[in-house]
Symmetry: D2
């Protein structure tokens, strides 16, 4: 009974169908029919004109987006526990040619205008210190917490006032929108580029970088090829994304994972370390309790000395979830 | 009737089957069962211990391999028309952090010890000039020509004598081995790392970097993640590769594409610009003749003023091939 | 009465003499007679064989040394307030091709094995996290505090045990050795490469990178040229360094600056924020007190809300120093 | 009797005087009085507003200028024998983060609109090929040949029409202007940034990057620091440059070196491989003749199998020059 991560879950049948249907030969790279449909599909979804490029991984999506916003001598403000800082093997240093991640604090891995200001205000405007050029926030955050539309808007306004670009790592954007129940555009209002994740949510190997500022996409087209991320059979990536967008499958899957997480959260009650707003649950559990859960067949990551991280997937088995909730209550 | 490229052909049914079979949850990245089988599978194939890592594209395979061989201040000798120089959007400059490609000449885009020496012998051994650290050759070459085992061995011996690493871009390694009829190991003898291509040969989005020098793989593990190429559902890439290796499907597909190319080559006769040893045909054809072929429904790339490039795929339609051969004869 | 920094002080007459004497034509870059003397001069000074290269700035010295120790996908542990992190405009990101600075804590900007361990022990040994490859310490530290020989030795032993290289930023190495009264080798025992500063200590534009591990120098020779730091009239840089080494001028100048700082420190008494062990004084002073000092003609940097940083130079005017000491006492 | 290079010649007395006069303490980096005078001095010289930054070497000047013009995924067209391609140890790859040098042909190492077009016209406007973003020309060229004002203007117009920036490597700009007898502005009309060399012409270690497009300078300020080229005692670099500009000392020195070269050229007559327009002479001489010259005490570089390169300096000894001319005539 696997609650380690959503990153290796099964692929949704609709995604498989779309990939198989895309097997008819078409032109290579992103010149095929399906890849050409992405801009339209995302423009419909967000209710405004945007440009979208596929890539295979969230790391590539995040770093390509940021590389279009930040020169090599600049900096990006992100949370100290952001994925780009903590879990991408230094990819931002590679893609941004040595630009600097500037680490901000914030409850549940969320930033605020104030926490960003606390990082950038002390930076002297001289050449001896790296100057910030962008902010990156994660929706939902590393702790499964969701920025409310007004929180995103406040950060966007702050960024704009300071001349900073705004990127959103939306590896779990679906879970965030499912939680908020708002229009997708409201969950990322004012953002210049969004890494829209599908792999953790039923996809196989395709994420979208959605640019609300089109000049950025033009740069990323070159950078994507230069990074070896322009797959020749790109139609299979486009097919995955279009299948996920169709009939809001992405949102349904996000809701499914969230619902399951909520069930576990209810069982965990006062043990919760962070509000459960998406599909991640962070618990206080002792060594003995962790051992007990594992002895019952549940797999998950330790989180610090007395904690655990559990992640639910779009296709979580209700029996497993019920069993887990029961086991947690019984601790 | 498409002869533009092999890079967007259909995926082989056995590859699809293997991918679908891999859908059961497993651990993420390259810690799954299938990914762990790669080293063994390639060690069997090559009859010696080697390490293999999957990536999605040939560009990533080539550049990750080279990045493990060449420091940022070094250089790589390759043919002036090599893919890494001409068609990868500057990816070597990115992955190798500004290392230099040193361009050599050679008939049919093949190098020889002599043509490599012609590039590196004039380089003074001082800090004002970039020093070569590796050689990269392409099997089969950009013009579909194949290095004989003794030709590879001569280059490998030369490289070793000069203290240079040797990389082989094997985007069409299958076609080369099919042509040579030798053991795979003989087609790449003395090579430190091989980009073993599957995408042009029935795969969907998976290539292997095969390291015959294991220290290189250790570096590339980090670099692959850093480049955003460590897919979380990596089992689907491993599945593709294992399916291609099973029962030598890769070789069968290579043979099929070669056979078709040979049929067209026979029709082209004296029009051939290069020997047809793999699945690419380069012809002399006038503007009028190109127009004539296109009017009959054949698609292909112009090659210079009076030439054409035609590429065959593993699943070429015999009727299309017959029609093309006939059309060429009739010109 | 300038106490802003030692970085713009006058050039020592012996340095001028040596530069003027070096004007006779010699061979370019570092092939001249004087540049060839550096290895011997530093080997004598440190009582062991070492290799030394000149560069114009401390930033270049630090970053070139580190670039030879750390691959682009690696990391360097340094203090959160180290010069390489806070004041070099992102130069490590540039020279190390995106490698990561890993920020450690420590009183008075000094590291210990424990503070280094606190940073690296939580790093999982997997490809998702950047792995440390080196440690950089500053002698004297950013707060003018000096590592005792046994402190350096403890860090060196720890680094060696963890497989990490050790770099020392010795922009004020002279002040540190002057304070310690030990052999220069003891002040940097176990270090792989030392940035030995002269510019803040009577030089014009020359620092030495001293390699106790010769393989590193071989790489840096290429990297220095590649960074545009191989001056064609390098004899003038070598001349400066040799003049500073002659008769221990570097040490005399360091002592002179320290002595003056000690005089001011004595006046400051309980206002001191850090022990004064080199030529920097950090004081608690209120806004009003800062204004009062400035109104008397003293220039210095504010340090936070209620502090000031004063730096003394090798050629500080005794009258200015006396006046400052008196003014501080009178606050 | 040294004719190896102008790069290690003596420093002009006026430069020494200016440096010694600059020894009075001033503020650090480029905030001192002298550094602030550079913009005005160059604006006067060129008769238009421009911005100028000092750096220690021509390599740094060239690469910093180009880095402000070309993104990491772009390219720079230069001559196959340009210094940035052949003699800077791969510095453009470092500073431009892997951007590509695109090598053009041209008599005497000079480019023309046609030779640039021959390189860039075949580049497809797609992401698989690196796109050109700038052109770099050398005034005087690697073979000591000078672009006439109308030649520069033609290249500038071509570059503008193609959306390319234009950089001029003016390591020997003084020699070029001395030869042309025109206003300095005419020798670099339409150029976006000029590396104005002084080190080969009587300076010690200071070159200027002159920006005719001010936005570029703003980027380079950060990049210069990031590259470790912002010397803290920058006033000594500014002093050198201002001394060279005063009373057109740069031009006098250029004329002196040119005059001497012309004297040798007259002696060489039909042996000349290139027109002698600056301070470099390329001769046909056999092995025996080279040996003969060397036996008489003349030092110079071999140039290919049957050639020699001789370079004259601003302070060439008339007796040496006379002796050389005589020796060449006597061959």
């Amino acid at each position: 009974m696997q609650f380690l991560s959503d990153n290796a879950a099964a692929v949704h049948p609709a995604v498989w169908s779309a990939m198989l249907a895309a097997d008819a030969p078409d032109s290579p790279y992103d010149t095929d029919t399906l890849s050409r449909e992405l801009d339209g599909a995302f423009s419909s979804l967000f209710g405004r004109e945007c440009t979208a490029l596929w890539v295979a991984t969230g790391t590539a999506a995040n770093c390509l987006a940021l590389a279009a916003m930040v020169p090599p001598h600049g900096g990006v403000v992100c949370h100290r526990e952001a994925h780009i800082e903590a879990d991408e093997g230094g990819a931002p240093g590679f893609y941004l040619h040595g630009a600097k991640l500037m680490l901000a604090e914030g409850r549940s891995a969320k930033l605020t205008p104030e926490s960003i200001a606390a990082v950038i205000d002390p930076i002297r405007d001289d050449v001896h210190q790296v100057q910030p050029h962008a902010v990156s926030i994660t929706q939902a955050s590393e702790y499964g917490c969701v920025y409310r539309p007004q929180e995103v808007a406040a950060i966007a306004a702050f960024a704009k006032a300071r001349g900073l670009r705004l990127h959103m790592d939306g590896a779990r954007f679906a879970n965030a929108v499912a939680y908020l129940g708002c229009a997708p555009a409201e969950a990322c209002g004012g953002v210049d580029a969004l890494s829209f994740g599908f792999v953790k949510n039923g996809g196989l190997g395709a994420e979208a970088i959605v640019f609300f500022e089109p000049g950025l996409a033009d740069v990323v087209r070159y950078r994507r090829k230069r990074a070896g991320h322009l797959q020749s059979k790109g139609r299979f990536l486009a097919a995955q994304i279009l299948a996920m967008l169709k009939d809001d499958l992405w949102l349904q899957n996000g809701r499914a994972a969230n619902a399951v997480a909520a069930e576990i959260a209810a069982a965990a009650g006062p043990r919760l370390l962070h509000p459960v707003e998406a599909n991640e649950i962070f618990l206080t559990v002792s060594d003995e309790e962790r051992a007990e859960l594992r002895s019952q067949g549940f797999s998950f990551y330790d989180w610090g000395v007395d904690g655990a991280r559990l992640v639910t997937s779009w296709n979580a088995d209700p029996d497993h979830v019920g069993a887990l909730a029961k086991a947690i209550r019984a601790l």
